[in-house]
Amino acid sequence: MQLKHWVSKILGYDGPPDSKDFYLVETDEEQESASEDAGEENTPSSKSRQHKIRKPKKTGSAGYNNDADKPGESSDDDNEEQSKHDESQREIHAALKVNKKNIEQLFNMPLNKDVVVRELTLSTEPPVQAFLVFMEGMADTKLINNSILKPLMLLTNLDPGPGIRPDTCTNVLQKHLPSNQVKKLTLFKDVVTQVLSGATVIFFEGSPCAVSAETKGFPYRAVDTARTEQVVQGPQEGFVENLRSNTSLIRRIIRSEELITEYLQVGARNNNNVAIMYLADLTNPDLVQEVKRRIKGIKTDYVAESGVLEEFIEDHPLSLMPQIVKTERPDRVSSMLLEGKVAIIVDNTPFVMLVPGLLFDFLHSPEDHYVRFSHSVWLRIIRVFAVFLTILLPAFYVAIATFHQEMIPTDLLLSIASARERVPFPTIVEILLMELSFELVREAGVRVPGIIGPTLGIVGTLILGQAAVAASIVSPILIIIVAVTGLSSYAIPNYAASFGFRFMRFFFIFLATTLGFFGISSGLFVLLCLLLNMKSFGVPYLAPVAPKTAPSADIIFRFPAWQQETRPDYQQTLDTRRQPDLSRVWTTKRSKQPTGESENKDGDKGGNDAGAT
């Protein structure tokens, strides 16, 4: 009975899974305008390319009146932090002594030497007792001295006040604190959060609230060149660990008031800041909502880095393929934000995550858009080729050499056979040996201290390969196979994807050893099924190829920038159009120009003079 149960469970279909699934569906506007579009066909764009699946053609770039819930406004509801201490839920008392006691209790005061409590007296008439709390090392002490202590202690006397009042907070906040980010707090919980993030919180006698002033000042790495995603042409900046630097790097590229940054906190113990960035008038609100739902729905005590958060929020954690794009390049993030993706930035991580991450995103490099069109096409072809080489080349070699010898040219076969003459192992052992030693070289190359790095490369590549051949442990052809496979795996621009593909090749090697080409083809079939089954944040993993959507101008072939009129269809963006069909207005004659912009006049004249049509 048990067996029957299991067999039916494995092979039978027991309906769709009962977990909560998220699908990124088309927006109402898009559907509406799609149906409208079917009726009236007056847009001039239909001549340019045949859209197999009819999609709305929106011309307006901005001006979306989201009378529904604008995703930017819903950031207040993250207050349901689980309580660590009872004190933290308490409200701030009017009595200064009680507050101080609470603070000391909350921060384990005598024990924790990093928290500084400074008592002071406001030079008002009569003097008001106060104290401020800040975290040594997180706050800039010079800033505290100059812009908090100095005005409060010395300058408050310029403005004689009536003494202890409940509205001291507001008063100080408005009149006496020359700090640009100031907040009024009433809960101890917020006090703790603020102090931990580097702010200075000031309590006043007789006031049931506290004032927090922004005094962040901690050491962090300066913006540096990107280390893992290098380009030849294009911006060289990479993200750093500091969250604020990272958001500013993105904001520097997208100067739009619609670029929203929301903050969430994950990790009950480390309270790590997570920023979500998206374009409010572009990104599908459902996607933003889903990202926030997943991040808020994490119950853990420590989220150190974006990789940890990735595991918590991705759809298929056990898959070999990544479903979230991680990048350290601000330009890539901003270009993907403009495609309608959502960026997730975790504090203390120089890598920004972008969702949804689809297979083709992992084959793209920001450089594709910076080099000329023809070059980028070639780059992409090489990369797709590299993916197949990475997965299949060793398996192909094994299959051909042990099952399908008739496929090899006679001379090559004879040279393989003669090279293997004194090799004591079967091909599979040979290839596993070399693949494993390649992985060893790779892993050791990452861990090895920088100075020894080049030495290791030489040892790994030259000596190991050469010696292995000379010692007749492997055949020389195999070295070529392993080297080409290794090279092509590094031609895949995304680190996680290249790792996934590289790992897959071992499965294929085993399949090829046991079943030859039949094994490889069945392996490819299973791989395809698994990939087709995947979704990343509600978007099918192989979109826009497997669920065929409206043709994209940037899948394997990148169209020239002036032909990339629409955004990826599968992102279900609120604004589907990047540019009108006629994006290079200067190429047309003045009369054919749809809207006669006055600033274009000069340029057009010049074009006509030069005989351009």
Binding site: K9, I10, L11, D14, P16, P17, D18, S19, H316, P317, L318, A401, T402, F403, Q405, E406, T410, D411, L413, L414, S415, I416, A417, S418, A419, R420, E421, V423, P426, T427, P476, F510, L511, T513, T514, L515, G516, F518, G519, S522, G523, V526, C529, L530, N533
Partner: protein
């Protein structure tokens, strides 16, 4: 992880595991566990039914250790001939493995050479279908009939330039594309022609060379380059082996041979002719003067078959074009007034040769190797009707007409061909 996808994953893994266990690795051989037969010779046995010879590659000698220096394989034989008598070909493979360590594999067998005796008594026609059936044999292996014993031919396979005899034989057979002296008949073509009613197969003819140069007698005669068959070439050096001409079959039995010229014409009719150099007598200056031309086929021939009361009428048209390579008489055939004469003369020459070949196949060999029967299929509706038509008998009495279209395209790199400057009277002509 969702429950559903976990089950799918488990199911996928199980399916993959099941595949591994059920299939096993039965046909898995390391490349150095096999001995690769490069050429095969088949002959009648003295004691058993067949005498099979295998030319087995010695990989070490053919592509020795790459970094071992240039002359590594010099001393070693690149392939060796193994001959065994056995009741069948496949049994002979097993029998060879009683003294050859590595499993015999026909996967890289590039040529099958039958003895003339086997071809003539029809045993070859019986063996070829079985060979085609076998999984390991290549359909693209060349098929040849040798005038000597196949094992002797195989033993002669010591190529001058190549270390690999298979490559040598492949290139040799591939030379058809620019010599035209041999047919381009592979195992699969031979089998197809064998089983089809409308055509009879041919095969390459190979023979051992005489390797003797006759002494000079002071005068020689003009003999066209294709007027030889294998074994008759006057040559010395290189491999003492020749492939020239073709063996003609009827109903699986060899009935005769074609020389190089006839084979070229045969290829023209089949549309397999690519290029060849023709040395023809100068049409405008009779005597010893010759014109050398490279002739290639412009388009496939047009062959039309009609059925009349008097029998079958076959109308054929061959389209050729050529480049003049050299003219002995120094007549400038690039000039419009001379060119048509050469074109016409060559057309007549090929027409004559073609008619001779057709008559030979009709009356002497009684075998339609030119494939006119395949073109006659449109005369009937069903296969049964075709069989009733009795094409072989019809072909013998068919009226065949040959028309050749020949155009000279280029006459070389000289703008004008000038006569040799002479001071006194010439004695060249």
């Amino acid at each position: 992880m969702r429950r559903g996808s976990r089950h799918h994953l488990v199911a996928a893994l199980l399916v993959m595991l099941m595949l591994l266990f059920t299939a096993g690795c039965g046909s898995n051989y390391e490349p150095d566990e096999l001995s690769y037969v490069l050429l095969m010779g088949i002959d009648h046995g003295a004691q058993n039914r067949l005498r099979i010879s295998y030319l087995i590659a010695v990989p070490k000698a053919i592509s020795g250790p790459g970094q071992g220096g240039g002359g590594g394989g010099g001393g070693q034989q690149s392939a060796s001939v193994v001959t065994i008598e056995s009741p069948s070909i496949y049994a002979s493979m097993n029998m060879v493995n009683s003294f050859v360590g590595r499993k015999i594999s026909l996967m890289h067998n590039k040529g099958i050479i039958f003895s003339e005796a086997m071809a003539k008594d029809g045993s070859m026609g019986v063996i070829v279908p079985g060979l085609t059936q076998f999984r390991e044999t290549r359909g693209t292996a060349f098929i040849a009939v040798s005038r000597q014993k196949p094992e002797e031919i195989l033993a002669k396979m010591k190529p001058l330039l190549e270390t690999n005899p298979a490559k040598y034989f492949e290139l040799l057979a591939g030379n058809q594309s620019f010599t035209g002296y041999i047919p381009s008949e592979k195992l699969q073509d031979f089998y197809n022609d064998l089983k089809a009613g409308g055509i009879n197969p041919v095969s390459i003819l190979v023979a051992e060379s005489d390797e003797k140069l006759p002494p000079h007698s002071g005068h020689n005669t003009y003999r066209t380059e294709g007027d030889y068959v294998a074994g008759e070439l006057v040559k010395k050096g290189g491999v003492s082996l020749e492939a020239m001409g073709a063996a003609v079959f009827r109903e699986g039995k060899m009935v005769g041979i074609l020389n190089g010229n006839e084979t070229s014409i045969y290829s023209m009719f089949r549309g397999q002719y690519k290029r060849r150099i023709y040395t023809v007598k100068d049409p405008l200056k009779h005597g010893k003067d010759i014109v050398i031309m490279e002739v290639n086929q412009k388009t496939k021939p047009r062959i039309k078959v009609f059925l009349t009361e008097d029998g079958v009428v076959v109308e054929t048209r061959l389209y050729l074009e050529g480049n003049v390579l050299g003219v002995n008489s120094l007549i400038d055939y690039g000039l419009p007034r001379y060119r048509p004469a050469l074109e016409k003369a060559f057309e007549e020459l090929i027409e004559q040769e073609a008619m001779k070949l057709v008559e030979k196949t009709q009356h002497e060999y009684r075998s339609d190797i030119l494939g006119f029967g395949n073109k006659a299929r449109h005369l009937v509706l069903t296969q049964k009707d075709l069989e009733q038509l009795n094409w072989p008998a019809l072909y013998e009495n068919a009226q065949v007409s040959v028309k050749v279209d020949f155009k000279i395209r280029r006459t070389g790199t000289l703008l004008r061909l000038m006569p040799i400057a002479k001071s006194s009277s010439d004695n060249m002509q």
